[in-house]
Amino acid sequence: MALKIGLEVHLQPRTQSKLFCSCAVNAEQPNTAVCPTCLGMPGAKPRLNRGAFDAALKLALALNCAIPPKSIFARKTYFYPDLAKDFQITQFEQPFAMDGKLTVKEKVIPITRIQLEEDPASLKHARSKDGMDYVQIDYNRSGTPLCEIVTPPVFGSPEEARQFLEELMRLADYIGVFDAQAGKIRADVNVSVDKHVRVEVKNVTSFRDVERAAQFEIIRQESVVARGEPGEQETRSFDAKTGTTDTMRTKETEEEYGQIPEPDLVPLTITEKEVNVIAAAMPEPPHQRIARFVKQYAITQEQAESLMSERALADQFEDVAKSADAKLAATWYAYVQKVLNFNSMRFDRSGLEAGHVAEFLKLIAGNEVSKRGGELLLRELVVKPQPARSLAQKLGLLALSRDETGKLVEQALRDNPQAVADVKAGKEKALQFLVGQVIRLSRGRAKEQDVLALLKKALDQ
């Protein structure tokens, strides 16, 4: 295999507070969620937020990792203005999770290790009125927990790497340990083409950019090799504007982190029993649930996968399927997702309840709302969840009664004498035309079988 791509993903596990202090995560106003510990003041000490560890542990279990009974934190020393202590507390010799895997598009991607660590502060580059470049430091992010998820160089294409990231985030979101709205995810990408040494591209901040960075590196490294040059082992940065990478440091100037165990923190221990308690409370893994949905509800693989995009959606589907036809429900939940996507909304934030959807499906099943009417009804229902029948009534989407339809049939017959003559002459197409006319007059609310029956009855006379 000539092309090798590996990832180091940084994913922020969902927590209320930071990894080593009680400051809130994701605060907006700069430098408001800070304390002596996350500012690295002399004398302040870290103490582990066990909630962050629990969230990280759930992710590790969902990725089928082995959990060693003891892991240790380490100091990774380097000087950078975003680093409050000029060292980062991370894990080095013994991370908390190892040897996992994630299946993406039927390919098993091994996970080498997951380590728990703190995020540095964030930097904002700015320029003053008199043209001086300067940097503003926001320590709100300093000390935010991160899981660093490391894969071996197993991806055969930039696309595979992106798909892994998407699947990883979907899984983390599904098991409730990633806040897809406020949480952060970024990656370092290792790339090497045949005959070129490994190059690491640092801090790529979107899935699309991971793919772009890898694509650029492949082209760059291939041209280095084509020129007959040896290529250099180095760390490069990615410029999202231009889609290119540039040298940060070469092997000779590679950072020396001098890791030692963090002496202010006791080793992180966990018993098998504690792991089992957390494992038992984990939701059914998505891939297993997809297989069960296909079998139990006789829906397609595609529908099942789509329902699994959000756990709340899959949960509600199962709830609704207790009282409604599951296949019908799956079909209409697909339309619900279309509406959500159109409005850039997440299902779990829409407020759509199982009761709303069950009532909606009853209207569809009883032909009280047509397919077209159903689509119109859902567009409104998803955005403003409320009882479906009264909304259909309000929107005038409820089907007409037989008597109301009869009046429209009479009108259609009066308005189209030629068609009536054609039907009588045995032209089937003319009958279809008349059906269409009645439906049009009803603005979609007439039931097709009512129209057909009434037309036939009228024309037979």
Partner: protein, 429 residues
Amino acid sequence: MSTADIVQEAQELNKKFSFFITLADPKDGIPVAVKDNICTQGIQTTAGSKILQGYVPPFDATVISRLKAKGYSVLGKTAMDEFGFGTFSANTSVIPKNPHDPKRCCGGSSGGSAGYIAASKHARFALAQSTGGSISAPAAFCGVVGFTPTYGRVSRYGLVDYANSLDKIGVIAKTVRDAAEAMGIIAGKDEHDETCQGEPFTIPAKLAKKLTIGVPKEWLAQKIDPEVRKQFDAALEQCKKLGWTVKDVSIPSTDYALSAYYVIALAEASTNLAKYCGLRYGATIQLEGGGDYTAFFSKVRGEFFGQEAKRRILLGTYVRMAGYRDKYYGQALKVRQLLLNDFAKAFRGCDIIAAPTMPIIAPTFDDIAKLSPLEEYAMDTLTVPANLAGLPHLSVPCGRAKGMPVGLHFIAPQGKDELLVQAGEAYGA
């Protein structure tokens, strides 16, 4: 005596002996002298370093809040070697003088606290801190009591770190009873320090049994001033008169302990000192003509760190670099474990280990100037083993040599801090 009396006396003593870096002038409470590496809200805390000049902590160390809750106040911040890097309190700009002979040092690094307790008529105890002997050494040189608890018995929250796996806050006191009373206030579990899991300290009843004292033969084989040795031998005779048994014990890893200590302590110190870069607090500079972050922090650190701090950063960084880490740092951790095993074995045959606290009496400043860094490090040979093993130890005065005080060192098994108090009081300190 009143608060004002204590403050006034401290001001007068300070003019003569330079015990304090900062005097706080409290208006009420019982004023207590505090080593300058313990954070005090609203009072400058520099750990004896120019790089923290002007730094006023926004919070109190746990030991300070516990003292304040019992009616104490902060008298001032006592002189010390920069970040605790020294044995004589001479590696700094405010150098305290020994009240028994101002040409001599107080010892270090808690020199200001020890000198002040020796000279004051009012004070009963001061807060001090030890990494490798920084409570015992100045206590011995100044002829006062130095109590260093088991590692983790007293919270380090608010202590400016030297080497976190070795640092212990303790007390320097007039008497063993005074030290015990202070320990009763400051010791015990603290949620702000994960490594502080120890029990609160209970002042023990009088010693009821006859002790067996172990004397490590490897320690007496070190280079010890004969006059100091004479006082130590006399102290052992005193112990025998109390009905105690004195016997030889062995700590075979002694010869490696000093090197292992310095490797571990400096490895940790070099990471702790990384944060002092002029960006967030303490001393800073304006870069002439601009420049990047590296140019900025290099200038700040170059200008404000003392010679010994720079030496320890370089050594400490070296021993944890890839390629050297296993050879030095990893090896030192193994020696630490060996030493723990040696102590465990020795304590199977005795209750308490005894030795001279320091191999010499307080040296003169002229003598100190002639010492190489390695010779200064070697002064810690007798205090380092207990510190590296995290064991509680007590230095009590035991006679004089050449007119200067000599210290007797008692070391107890882990967590047996109260036994030390019983032994010290029975000995008559």
